[in-house]
Assembly symmetry: C2
Homo-oligomer: 371 residues x 2
């Protein structure tokens, strides 16, 4: 269990299989995010039909509502939300540092106020692991601090904390049917990133999150940090670039040795009436689509594009109909899953570089229609 | 086309087949409502899986947004919303009289303001038919006035208007692939109802809407009016009780000779976190369900009940997750479709009276948990 079989490498791009209690993950893999134990607007049946293999859910959200002990008592997250495949929970760290109010960090943990009702809570590495054991995902994440990426002094101090917490998470873990991944931090500083990767690799984690990226640094900085991960992390363990999920970032990161991704982008954009496509984004609320009889993305095989016109999706968006969010969520998730499947096939076929070159050449440097 | 084959009658309850260009309707039939060309929160694929046969959409809403000419230019309502089966559009009358502001009625038609943007519009019988021809449903409805049901003088005058408009609708109709139904009015007054049924039957409509009920009158009054319809309307034409859709009303009305129904109830309740069941309503936002591991309705075979617990649906409701509305819409529509299928089977088997007695005996007189 939890072995990673590296099947084929094409330059730095990797195709592999990660074995979990709820099935094999074929990498590269993209995980749709089910923040509150639901990938927003989609049924598990629709996710299965889309070919999703890994679903992420959020420790912070589920701890607050409905409560991790309730989820445990109802059979764990797989049973609760009826997701039959592999699942991953994050540690709650990122949300504590981004969503909650009035957090206070000390060496032992973090005090924070709920973003829902202002109630006071405390997470420690041990608490995060206990919650994640109650939730019962196949892959769980170490509790880390998420520092501002550009502040060197802050990152130096934070790294010590994150490393100490990683060791405590390992020590606190009791379930054999869950893989605990460490999370590499270090901001945009190559030496800190390398130091973090080496330290966490030494602790023997079966996989590694790459944290603290896509939070304000430049694309060049993000790419440089990923390249250090490829050089420093053990090749026989999966690398998971956390919170990243635009089409171009997926391709650029796989090219640099990343295996796993998650992001709210496809479902969040969908609820804001935006479609991801291979040539940029479309805001389907735009009146220009009112009589457009083409599918959202011509050539796309998803349920939305196989059946409906831009004019219809635009009408749903203009009318704030739930079905608009459903159809665009289907399309956007389908696109990201398709891209990861295509990348995997290209790596296995030895044609990844050509695939990536062509993909990125068609992808606009600048997003044409931000929502 | 548009023949109604009355297959079997059990006392006053009827099982039949109504033939339309997009397929046969097996009656009794319940139509989920797709107000704005979408049955809220459900995909056409989910509706097909539920076994829906007839879907209703609203002339008033579609005329205002996205516009009936746009729908026509995109191939009509079936193509626009990708519903492969029979469709019905109402005339816009009910919405003009219930939703819009500052309406002014004259013998020729009605002036009204859009509830969306306050813009000024005018519907006449001819305009309603022209819009419904642009939309292209299989069954279209005559433009009628919807009077307050308890005001005798108002209903007497209104009936003349509705009858004159019905004749004008027939005269205005040009498409042979659409069946135009007349709408019986007359409030709670037996003689007016009988007069309206006889007059409209004389005009030769292929089917009849029963309008102006379930709008404030008592159940006894509603039942009495339906019994008059059964006595006065030609037996070889379908009777469609408009806007009615609670489980007990379906059973009570089929027992009195009604063949068709539509109602927003199942999908509207679902978006308000309420489940219809055979023994009353449940408000799934209620904390009492927080740890309830039973399905929403034990014994129900729908996707929601076959897979999820009340605890999970309650969590979705408490978190305002779209999936909560989706799952409860599936359950509620499934229940009403199941009841109509069961009634049809019971009529064909000659056991309808026993079925209806048992159903109504289990159904609470008072709804336990109104939303």
């Amino acid at each position: 269990m939890f072995e990673f079989d590296l099947e084929k490498q094409h330059a730095h791009a990797r195709a592999g299989v990660f074995h979990t209690p709820h099935g094999d993950l074929l990498t590269p893999v993209f995980a749709p995010v089910g923040t509150a134990a639901t990938v927003k607007a989609l049924t598990p049946a629709q996710l299965c039909e889309l070919g999703a293999s890994l679903v992420l859910s959020n420790t912070y959200h589920l701890y607050l509502r409905p409560g991790d002990e309730l989820v445990r008592d109802l059979g764990g997250l797989h049973a609760f939300m009826r997701w039959p495949g592999p699942m991953l929970t994050d540690s709650g760290g990122f949300q504590v540092f981004s969503l909650s109010q009035t957090r206070r960090i000390d060496p032992e943990g973090v005090n924070f106020k709920s973003h829902i009702d202002g109630s006071l809570h405390r997470f420690t590495p041990e608490k995060s692991i206990a919650i994640q054991e109650n939730l019962g995902a196949d892959i769980i994440m170490a509790f880390d601090e998420c520092p501002p990426p550009l502040d060197r002094a802050y990152n130096e101090a934070s790294l010590e904390l994150t490393h100490a917490w990683a060791a405590r998470c390992l020590a606190a873990k009791t379930r054999a049917d869950q893989a605990l991944f460490g999370i590499v931090q270090g901001g945009v500083f190559p030496d800190l990133r390398a130091q973090s990767a080496r330290y966490l690799a030494g602790l023997g984690f079966p996989g590694f999150g790459i944290g603290g990226l896509a939070v304000g640094e430049s694309k060049a900085e993000m790419h440089a940090m990923i390249e250090i991960m490829d050089a420093e992390l053990p090749p026989d363990r999966p690398r998971y670039l956390m919170g990243v999920g635009s089409p171009e970032d997926l391709v650029s990161a796989v090219r640099r040795g990343v295996d796993m991704f998650d992001c709210v982008l496809p479902t969040r954009l969908a609820r804001n009436h935006a479609a991801l496509t291979r040539t940029g984004r479309l805001n389907l609320r735009n009146a220009v689509f009112a009589r457009d009889s083409r599918p959202v993305e011509p050539g796309c095989a998803c349920y939305c594009c196989a059946n409906f016109t831009r004019a219809y999706v635009r009408h749903l968006a203009a009318s704030d109909e739930i079905l608009g969010a459903v159809l665009l969520s289907i399309h956007n998730v389908h696109l990201l899953l398709s891209i990861t499947r295509e990348m995997r096939a290209a790596i296995l076929a030895g044609t990844f570089d050509a695939y990536a070159d062509e993909f990125l050449a068609n992808y606009p440097v600048k997003i044409k229609d931000e929502v």
